[in-house]
């Protein structure tokens, strides 16, 4: 049986530390995911446009974009978060807190999203692209109205994957004082020898993963 005392103890942490961190996590994750999806989509758009099998192959531009994507991806997220703090400060005005975390998270997630979306778009049947060409669709329309439409389930599955991946990356954002449930699990839980907090946080992370995966699957099925 769980004693009243234990419940009170748990509740104290839950209310004081964990609940705020849930909101912090959700804010960071949703904002950085939305931003990186948009930016990643734009990058993927040009990667697909200029790619070697693309709609309007352009080796120079493709290589440049590819270079940018690879460069950012080669920064481990933790290094990205701490190392770019001068740039973060320039852009969002502070090097500390949630706002300061969203920038590097977005930056780290953008090329990931770009690759996920690019990989999905690459799979679209060439014949459909030709069909769209045959009635005079522009490259923009081919990508948005044909390729994206056809690969929406893959993109949804990919975005789900990214979101879950970066949910765990928000833990690292604890380094710049952004809080978040992962940082709580690490600092208040694991490092403080507080298993109650550790397990509660991990459980909450698990619930978030479930919800994200469930939402993604639901969307996938709906679109399929």
């Amino acid at each position: 049986m769980i004693s009243n005392g234990y419940m009170a103890y748990w509740w104290r942490y839950f209310e004081g530390i964990i609940v705020p961190s849930i909101w912090a996590t959700l804010r960071m994750l949703s904002l950085s995911m939305v931003l990186s999806f948009i930016l990643g989509f734009i990058l993927a758009y040009f990667l697909i446009l200029y790619g070697p099998q693309g709609l309007r192959p352009n080796s120079t531009r493709y290589k440049l974009l590819d270079f940018i994507v690879n460069s950012i991806r080669s920064f481990p997220v933790i290094i990205l978060i701490v190392a770019i703090s001068p740039i973060t400060r320039m852009i969002v005005g502070t090097s500390i807190g949630e706002k300061a975390a969203i920038f590097p998270l977005t930056l780290a997630a953008t090329p990931f999203m770009a690759r996920i979306i690019e990989n999905s778009l690459k799979e679209v049947d060439k014949q459909l692209i030709e069909a769209a060409r045959s009635f005079g669709a522009s490259d923009f329309q081919i990508i948005t109205k044909v390729m994206v439409k056809e690969s929406v389930p893959m993109i949804v599955a990919g975005a789900t994957l990214s979101t879950i991946t970066f949910l765990s990356a928000t833990t690292l954002a604890g380094a710049v004082g952004a809080g978040g449930i992962g940082a709580v699990a690490l600092n208040y839980g694991y490092q403080s020898f507080n298993n109650t907090v550790l397990y509660t946080s991990v459980l909450l992370l698990f619930i978030m993963v479930l919800v994200i995966q469930w939402a993604g699957d639901w969307l996938y099925k709906k679109i399929l």
Binding site: S95, I96, V176
Partner: protein, 246 residues
């Protein structure tokens, strides 16, 4: 009453980036004596202590004494810091905006280290500085939940310890060690608002398992560290960011 552990010749010592040079000095000193020393670098967390407890490594220079005591209690371990202790790190409240503690305004923001031991220590500093009061400690460390009064409604942001110093321009004040102040904020670590009165209560040094405390290599290591040459090297390298214990 235990007999000392059989003499080991192959040693693995764990460190953090900042403590690595000290272990290199030990290695340098022990190698001619026929020891085979391997230095392993870790990120900040309790794993090196766990590894030490489990016997995967033989010594660390990473955690201060109070932490080791907590660790022992939480993990039924018997780690000990080899005496005499070596140095302590200088904690203080720093600010880029204010010259005196009294100038700290209402609703000020402080960046403090987020790892439990330094957070706990930071809270005590704030208490000692008269900015907050604390309740009874409930766990091994003080946490934000233990703040009783916060008359100035100071907002505390927990960050990775190197980031605290980096954020000095963005907040009203920070709590950091002299080491990070000098290295990351490129500021004079001697210009502070308030010095941690407990600085000397957080000594650091070589931590080993209980049975090794009296081993030849542990004793020898401390001798090496405390040699004139290495003390000079220490002061030269850390330039007052850490303070040697005499």
């Amino acid at each position: 009453g235990q007999s000392p552990a059989p003499e080991k010749k192959n040693l693995k010592l764990g460190c953090m980036p900042w403590s690595e040079p000290m272990l290199q000095w030990i290695k340098e000193g022990l190698t001619p004596l026929g020891y085979n020393v391997e230095v392993i670098m870790f990120d900040a967390n309790q794993l090196p202590a766990v590894a030490l407890k489990d016997g995967s490594i033989d010594g660390i220079i990473q955690n201060h004494k109070p932490w080791i005591i907590t660790f022992n209690k939480e993990n039924k371990a018997n780690l000990e810091m080899v005496e005499p202790y070596y140095f302590y790190s200088f904690f203080a409240i720093y600010s880029a905006k204010y010259k005196k503690l009294e100038e700290i305004p209402q609703n000020a923001t402080f960046t403090i280290p987020g790892d439990p031991t330094n957070l706990s220590r930071s809270l005590i500093i704030l208490k000692e500085a008269g900015l907050i009061t604390l309740k009874e400690k409930t766990g091994p460390f003080y946490t934000l939940l233990d703040i009783k009064d916060n008359p100035k409604k100071i907002k505390l942001v927990e960050a990775e310890i190197t980031q605290t110093a980096r954020s000095i321009q963005d907040v009203d004040a920070i709590i950091a060690t002299a080491y990070f102040m000098a290295e990351t904020a490129k500021a004079d670590p001697k210009v502070f608002l308030f010095e941690d009165p407990q600085n000397k209560d957080f000594p650091l040094g070589l931590v080993v398992r209980h049975e090794d405390v009296n081993s030849a290599w542990a004793k020898e290591s401390m001798k090496i560290l405390r040699s004139e040459k290495n003390r000079a090297r220490f002061n030269e390298l850390y330039k007052g960011k850490y303070t040697l214990i005499d």
